[in-house]
Each structure stands twice: as C-alpha cells, then as structure tokens.
Amino acid sequence: MTDISPTSAEAPKRPQAHGSLLTATPLMKRRNAAETRFHAYGIAAIVVALLTLAIMLFTIIRDGHSAFYQATMTFPVTIDAAVVDKTGTRDVAEMTKVTTIGYARILGESLVKHLADEGLVVEGMTDKEITDMISKDAPARLRDRVLADTSLVGQTVTVDVFTGGRVDGYFKGRVTREIAERDSNVTVTQLDMADLMEEAGILSSQFNWSFITAPDASDLRPEAAGLGVALLGTLYMMLLTFIFTLPIGVAASIYLEEFAPKNRLTDLIEVNISNLAAVPSIVYGILGLAIFINFAGLPSSAPLVGALVLTLMTLPTIIIATRAAIRAVPPSIRDAALGVGASKMQTVVHHVLPLAAPGILTGTILGLASAAGETGPLLLIGMVAFVTNYPASPLDGGFLDPASALPVQVYSWASRSDPAFIERSSGAIIVLLIFLFFMNALAIVLRRRFERRW
C-alpha cells in the first residue's frame, strides 16, 4: 500500500469467502426466520394464556356479580303483640315459643296492607300471591330482631326484606314472563306487582352484605344463602394449616438441606417428598378420613381435620420450596460463618434462615393458597355438609365445630337444582379469587420486606 489511495478501478479484488456483510447468506436467513418463528410461538402462547384467563374472569364476573345484589323490599311492619307475645309479659323465653309462622303472617299482612295503602293493585292478584313474594328467610330474620329487642313489640318498624328468589331472578334477567307461566313457584301477576313496587320505590336492588356474612340456606331460599360459614371455615383452616406446615416444613427442609448425611435413606426420603407433591389431593382426603376421623375420632366437618388434611397435602410443596430457598443462599455465607467459628446451628439460624426467609414465606403462602382452593379432600372429611351455624371463636373450641369451606361451597351450590344458585356459585368463586389474591399479595409484600441482597 502506498500513501496514495488507490482508485476504485485499481482496488484489488479481495477474496469473498464470507460474502458481503450487506447481504444475508441463505443460512443466516434461515436462522433469522427460525428465531422470528420462535418469538411468534412465544407470543402466541402468552396470548392464548391471557385470553383464557380473560374469558374465565369475564364469565365468572358476568355470572357472579349479581350475587352481590339482591332485590329488597322496604315497607313498615306492625309487630302485633297479640301474635308474638301472647302472654304480654315481654318474656323472651315465652316469646321464643312463637315460631316463624307467626312472623310470616305479620310480614304478609303488613305488606298487603302497605300495597293497598300505596294503591298498587294488579288485577286478580290474591293476598297469598303478595305474601309469597317475601323471602321464606325474612320471618326468621324479623323474629331474631324482635327477640333481641323486645321493645319493638307493638311498634311499627320499617324492615328491609328480600324478595323470593324468583322475583329477584326477574330483576336479574334470569326469570322471564314466559318462564313464570310454566313455573309453579312464581306467577306472572307477582312479576307485574314487582314492577309496580319498583316504580313506587318499595322494591329496589341493594348491595347484599348477607351474601358474604350469612350462613348457607336451603334449596328453597337461595336469596338467603351466604358465605359466612364457608369464609370462617376457610380462614380457620388456613390459620391452622399455616401453624402446622411452617414449623414442620422449615424444620424438615433445614435438616435435609444442611444436616442430613447424603445416603440411600435421605435419597429415598427426597424422592418420596417429590412424589408426595404429585399425589392426587383426593388421596389425602381418604387418608384424613381414615386416620383423623375414623381412627383418631376427631369430628367430621371440623376445620381442624380439614387443616390436618391440607397440611399433609401442602407439606411436600412447602418443603420443596423451602429447600430451594435454602439452597439459593450462597455457600460463601456459610463458609464465612463457619470460618469465624459459628456452629452449624448458628450458621443456619443467624445467616441461612434470614436470607432464605423471603423464599420460604413465599413458598409457604403460595402452598397455602393452593390449599385454600382445594375441594376434593374436604369433600371426603365432611366439609360439604350443610352448615347453618357459625363455628365458635377459636378460643371456644371453634376449630372442632362443623364448618364449610369456600371451594366446597362453590361445589355444593353449583350442584343444587335452583338456577338462582348458579349466580351464588360464581359469586362465591369471586370471593375465593379475592381471598387468594390477597394471600398472594401478602406473599409479595413479605418477600419485598424481607428481601436482602448479598
């Protein structure tokens, strides 16, 4: 090369073994195409997953949101002392002898009178039809209210009572006039009257707290059914499961990860823990039925038994997650602690556990979340029973009282015949999802709080 730059004509032709950089070789084109395809597959997979999730959430919310609203009638009721307190002594013990039938008559008569006063008339509607619009649950609620406050006797009070499930279904679009003609539980005249009452402001759709707080109700009273007992039951079970699994899971993991000699026995234990995580949950239900109920004699339907079964089911998952968290602590930290003369135990407690804590907590809470959604094993230990009494507080032995659980409630409502339970079932799923959402949020918060870098 000289200092004078050669003109293009004189430029020596360089060997073009690799071709020009400006044109892609066929191999390169194929590689790029494969990469583009791979991207597309990945995006497609994510889109499918998100779409499925969106469809699921959409259908659940579409079907379930109406469970949180209930057609409610508001009208004055005169609590006739002659009916509810025959002795006139206001003695609660005496008054409890009056059953809900008496209160149903008071409610019915008051509604008929109120509608007449308001001038709401539907041609050919009998008083019985008007009375039947009131939920079968309303008399019991009125009775409870009067027994709790006897000064109400003889007074005129304004009450909010649910309409029957069919009238409620009419406002939610589930019941139409065509259906009503064929349905023995509701008449077209009742629906006409419901329309009039809504115009008059007697009947309106109100937020239904009792869906969350009330206990379950029978097939005849879907409007009164609530999740109270199931929520409490799930809460009790999660609390107990957490108390049982965390110490057992952490102790087992620490032993296996830090202390156990590596031999055939520990290998066998490890393989079996992994296998147990894959055992169908219903098997744990059978096990729980055999051991805790039939052998140990614990009561069925009890949150304690449910928690024990869920503990058995969740432990393998939690042990696997905890071991992974412990293994993720860099060995250099263990070396450092041992190097300054910490004992094995001090190394674990002072250094390894604090660093593994976020992982352990996350694993535990996610394990609990999956246990919270578990139905199968709970069916076998009787949690599917129809329970209308709240379990007592834990201090009064509430862990042994019969209770239900959210996923089981979903299952039992979904299998009932009245279509009004479909919205309740979906509504219960919404509550369950919110419950799980909060548990997962808690896991994330704990993780953030405890997370330390090294």
Binding site: K262, D335, G341, A342
Partner: protein, 265 residues
C-alpha cells in the same frame, strides 16, 4: 516491598505454630493430598503455590477443619497446633476455628452492617461482657485490617455495599476480631483489582507481627512479595518447602523450577 530483595529476606523465627505430619486427604476415592509434612512458623507469612488442583487449598482447609463440611472428605495423618492434634476426636472444630481464622477467595461479608460483621465472631464466642468492650474490639479489628478510617463514619452501613477491596479487608477484620493465632487466606486477592491487591498485601505484611499467616496464591509474584516461607504443591505432593528467597532463586526440585519459570502450571 520490592521483589528484588527477596533473597535478603530472612526468617528469624524458629518457633513452630503448626506441624503437619503425613497428611493424606481423600475426596471419596480421589487421593487429593499425599503425605504432606509441613512446619508452619509463628509470626511468619507462609505461601502455598502450585498449579490449580494441586491440593494447596485443600491443605489450607485442613488447617481449620473446613474440610469437615465436605461430606466425602477424609483426612489422615496429624496436624498439631501448638502440639495439640486438631483432628483429635475431643477437638470441637468450632473452637478450633476461633483460633484459626480464615479469609476466603471471594469477599463474603454477611449481608449485615459493617459493625455486625466484625462483632459477630466475638459475640458468638462470648469474648466480651458489654457493648463498650465489643465496640473496642470492632474498632481494633477494623484498624488492624486498615479499613477503620474508611468506614468509621458508616459502621451501620451494609457490609455488602463496600467495594471489593474494602469487603476483603472487612473480612480480614472479621477474621482477626476473634483474636486468632493463625490466619488462613485462600487466594484473598484473586477477586480484587491491582490497587486493592496492593492494599491487602501490605496488610498481610503488617499482620505478620501478630499472627502466623498462611496464604494460598496463584500469583508467584504475590508469593514472592508477601511471604517468608513458600511451599510448592504439585499433583497432591508437597514438592518443596523452604524460604521464599531460596524457592524462587534456587529451587532444589526440577518441578519447582519448571513451575516458577512458567513451564508447568
């Protein structure tokens, strides 16, 4: 320090700190260390050099029984620390490690405050009765590790937030806080830049006045710079052990000569 003066460097201490006789180490069926005899002197820097996998780190980890944590490791022979066999069944390795401190290849401060890093050892060994004494030990250790001036205003800051060289000196402070007699260093500078390396090397030379320091290094220059005695390991054998000046200028074994001149390794 000057590499050129290594010939003149003499060892005036003759008192043995550690005496190893016929040490064999097996990892499972792998015979990693074969028949090693070494006398490590008090208040001296002893360097272990040799190619990777030659057993120098293995031997170092025998000196405070860190090999106990490796399930498959088996140690035979005897290692005496001031006449007491550290592999005696009656010896608790935890107690031993308070006497024989260790600094690792990668700086590994605890993810805690600088203060807690240094105070941890004295705390678990019950060396102090109150906070004032602990404060004193922490300050003394940090001063000894030549890092006090850099961190005295932020003792509550995280130890992991320091630079690599500072972290390693913090680890040295942590190791000296338990007042050990021997300080083992496993390639303490291999993760550090040249400036931090120089600081740590200077520190090692100062530590010699109080401790017997054993350092494993891949860098022959480093061995020449900081040590008074050097041991050359090759394929699990202790090939040659002598004064650093002699090893680097007049090796007796042809394998040592090949290694220090760069022909094997």
């Amino acid at each position: 320090m000057n590499d050129m003066r290594i010939v003149e460097r003499d060892v005036d201490i003759t008192e043995n700190k550690i005496t190893a006789r016929g040490v064999q180490v097996y990892y499972g069926t792998n015979h990693a260390l074969k028949d090693v005899d070494v006398d490590i002197l008090d208040k001296t820097v002893t360097a272990f050099i040799g190619p990777s996998g030659c057993g120098k780190s293995t031997f170092l980890r025998c000196l405070n029984r860190m090999n106990d944590t490796v399930a498959s490791a088996r140690v035979e022979g005897e290692i005496l620390l001031e006449g007491e066999n550290i592999y005696d069944p009656k010896v608790d390795p935890v107690q031993l490690r308070a006497k024989v401190g260790m600094v690792f290849q990668k700086p590994n401060p605890f993810p805690k405050s600088i203060y807690d890093n240094v105070a941890y050892g004295p705390k678990i060994h019950g060396l102090t009765r109150n906070k004032a004494e602990l404060d004193e030990i922490v300050e003394k250790s940090l001063r000894r590790a030549a890092i006090w001036n850099e961190v005295k205003d932020r003792l509550d800051a995280s130890g992991t937030g320091l630079s690599g060289g500072q972290q390693q000196r913090l680890c040295i402070a942590r190791a000296v806080a338990t007042n050990p007699e021997v300080l083992l260093m496993d390639e303490p500078c291999s993760a550090l830049d040249p400036i931090a390396t120089a600081q740590v090397e200077e520190l090692i030379d100062e530590l010699r006045s109080q401790y017997s320091v054993v350092i494993v290094t891949h860098s022959m220059q480093q061995a020449a710079r900081v040590s008074q005695k050097t041991a050359f390991f090759h394929l699990g054998h202790l090939v040659e052990y002598g004064e650093t000046g002699q090893i680097f200028t007049n090796p007796q074994d042809p394998r040592t000569e090949s290694y220090i001149t760069g022909r094997i390794g």
